[in-house]
């Protein structure tokens, strides 16, 4: 049983997409969590529903909606086309699929950490001369570290397993967008691919277990500290 070059590429691609997606989602997730934890404005409930939507929607639905938006016939897609930017069927699409699908997980975790911060701390900081941005950077960010790390690892794990939305907007392109789940699917559709499919599944399971272990360790350590 051996790996074909395309299989190694799939594993590496999954890792690359996961890392990039996490880096992209972090600032966005932090901002979203901050809005939901501390914001008081009309339409907050609507925003909350929107951010949580990908969690309950089947990933293929998310993928299809993204395709409608970013495809060559889509509103955003047409605009990007004129700028010469192609999203569909590139690894960027795989990143976008992971970001959208995993976003609720990240926001949820960070928000929880933020809501655990004593309001008096923020009030004290303000009264000592810290503006809103200052408070975010010097108080909120350090104190939500645990939530950020836990949320990131969960997000990364989800991104490694992303299939439904990915296959629709990034397509199955070996070496380009074929991530590990897509490779497994490809092999699983073919009677001759059983053994390789199983092997790749094993890799996937080990990957995920590793991430989840890290996630648990982070939670445990911060709690003890």
């Amino acid at each position: 049983m051996q790996f074909a070059p395309a299989d190694i590429q799939a594993i590496l691609l999954s890792a690359k997409v996961g890392v990039v997606a996490t880096l992209v989602a972090l600032p966005l997730g932090f901002l979203a969590a901050w809005l939901l934890a501390f914001g008081r404005f009309k339409g907050k409930l609507l925003l909350e529903l929107l951010f949580n939507l990908p969690l309950t929607l089947p990933p293929v639905v998310v993928g299809y909606l993204l395709l409608l938006l970013l495809g060559s016939q889509g509103v955003l897609g047409k605009l990007l086309d004129t700028l010469g930017i192609k999203i569909i069927f590139t690894w960027k699409a795989a990143v976008i699929a992971s970001v959208v699908v995993g976003f609720p997980l990240l926001v949820r975790s960070i928000r929880l950490a933020m809501e655990g911060i004593d309001l008096h701390l923020l009030q004290a900081a303000r009264s000592l001369g810290a503006g809103r941005l200052d408070v975010i950077v010097t108080v909120i960010l350090p104190l939500s570290r645990r939530g950020i790390l836990a949320g990131s690892s969960l997000f990364f794990a989800r991104s490694l397993g992303e299939f439904g939305a990915t296959i629709i907007i990034a397509g199955n392109m070996p070496g380009v967008t074929q991530t590990l789940p897509l490779a497994i699917y490809d092999y699983a559709s073919s009677p001759a691919g059983e053994s390789t499919a199983l092997l790749l599944c094993l890799v996937s399971v080990l990957f995920s277990m590793g991430i989840l272990l890290l996630h648990e360790l982070i939670l445990q350590r911060k709690k003890g500290a």
Binding site: D118, L121, A124, A125, R126, S127, L128, G129, G131, P142
Partner: protein, 350 residues
């Protein structure tokens, strides 16, 4: 400091509406829970926005709904101290103390770290993290942090309520000292009449979102005597005691008071409730109370259903409370001589 407020704020079913005009260095805000004290503090600090009105600090508007002026919290230079220290858990004591200092414009900085640390006796705690500090230490650090921001006003929301009794009364001197040394006025909320008497020049009394008056702490204590379960607390400054027949004789005013033999042999401030002073028309004979003081009635006042009797005992003042019936029976009038009988065990060190 001059503080001029005219505020209106609706929060759900609660309405705060008041007009306050005070001059002083130490203003207390007194009232039962739900009277709007915390709301008022939040409005002063700029954490909440009034529906309408104005806030002027030393003539400078912090908020004015007619002009649309609203100075942001971080620019008001009003530092806050809370009931629970609110020290930043991820920063060391030193970093906590420096937080406000670093954010204070350089030319406005009047106070330095070493001086404050020495005054509050927290120099040894610099490198520690807040979770290793005791309650009293935390509050002193919180106070230091607020002072180091060189604020125009120190705003404190029940700063001593979370502390044990003996600790509480040991922090009060720090508060007064710091305020005097660095010339920082403070406004503080408390529901303790004794704290008001020990810290405030004037007290603004709130009830159900309205200001019912601005009085001196002494007046407040006397007004509340009838309602308060502890009565009026006499605060007595006593000197170093001498032992006498198994009791301790503490010098007080022009004479001395006998306290139980197991009290600490140090000078200090003592509490005596108005309820624990028994009045007699004549010198009582064969009575178990060890303190029998001849006093002159200086004044009488009504306090709810009781009568407050202000007594002059050898230069010192004692306030006792008796029912109107007793007052009539003993024919208590201003200027009359009356005997005060107090048990040695009735005193409590502050």
């Amino acid at each position: 400091m001059e503080l001029k407020l005219q505020l209106r704020k609706q929060q759900g079913s609660f309405l705060l509406e008041l007009e306050l005009n005070v001059c002083g260095e130490r203003i207390g805000i007194f009232g039962p829970s739900g009277s709007g004290k915390s709301t008022l503090v939040n409005l002063l600090a700029g954490l909440t926005r009034p529906d309408s009105g104005s806030i002027l600090l030393n003539g400078q508007p912090l908020f004015d709904s007619s002009t649309g002026a609203n100075v942001a919290t971080e620019q008001r230079r009003i530092a806050m101290v809370f009931q629970r220290h609110a020290l930043f858990p991820h920063l060391s004591v030193r970093k906590n103390l420096q937080y406000g200092y670093q954010r204070c414009p350089t030319k406005e900085r009047r106070i330095d770290l070493a001086e404050v640390a020495e005054l509050l006796e927290i120099t040894d705690l610099m490198g520690q993290m807040p979770d290793t500090l005791s309650g009293g230490q935390s509050q002193r650090v919180a106070l230091g942090r607020a002072i180091l921001a060189s604020p125009r006003l120190l705003l404190m929301d029940e700063p001593l309520s979370a502390l044990d009794d003996d600790l509480r009364y040991r922090i009060i001197p720090y508060l007064n000292l710091v305020s005097e040394r660095f010339k920082i006025p403070f406004v503080f909320i408390s529901h303790s009449l004794v704290e008001m008497r020990l810290m405030a020049d004037q007290v603004a009394v709130l009830e159900k979102g309205r200001l019912t008056g601005v009085v001196s702490p002494e007046q407040l204590a006397r007004q509340r005597m009838g309602q308060s379960p502890a009565g009026y607390i006499n605060l007595l400054e006593m000197g170093v005691p001498k032992e006498r027949q198994g009791l301790l004789a503490f010098p007080w005013a022009g004479g001395e008071l006998l306290l139980s033999g197991n009290a600490e042999t140090e000078s200090g401030l003592f509490e005596l409730s108005s309820k624990d002073i028994i009045l007699c028309k004549r010198h009582p004979d064969a009575i178990s109370a060890r303190n029998l003081l001849p006093c002159t009635v200086r004044s009488l006042f009504e306090a709810g259903s009781k009568i407050g009797v202000e007594l002059d005992c050898k230069g010192g003042t004692l306030v006792a409370e008796i029912v109107p019936d007793a007052a009539r029976e003993l024919e208590v009038t201003v200027g009359s001589i009356i005997w005060a009988a107090i048990k040695a065990s009735a005193f409590r060190r502050l």
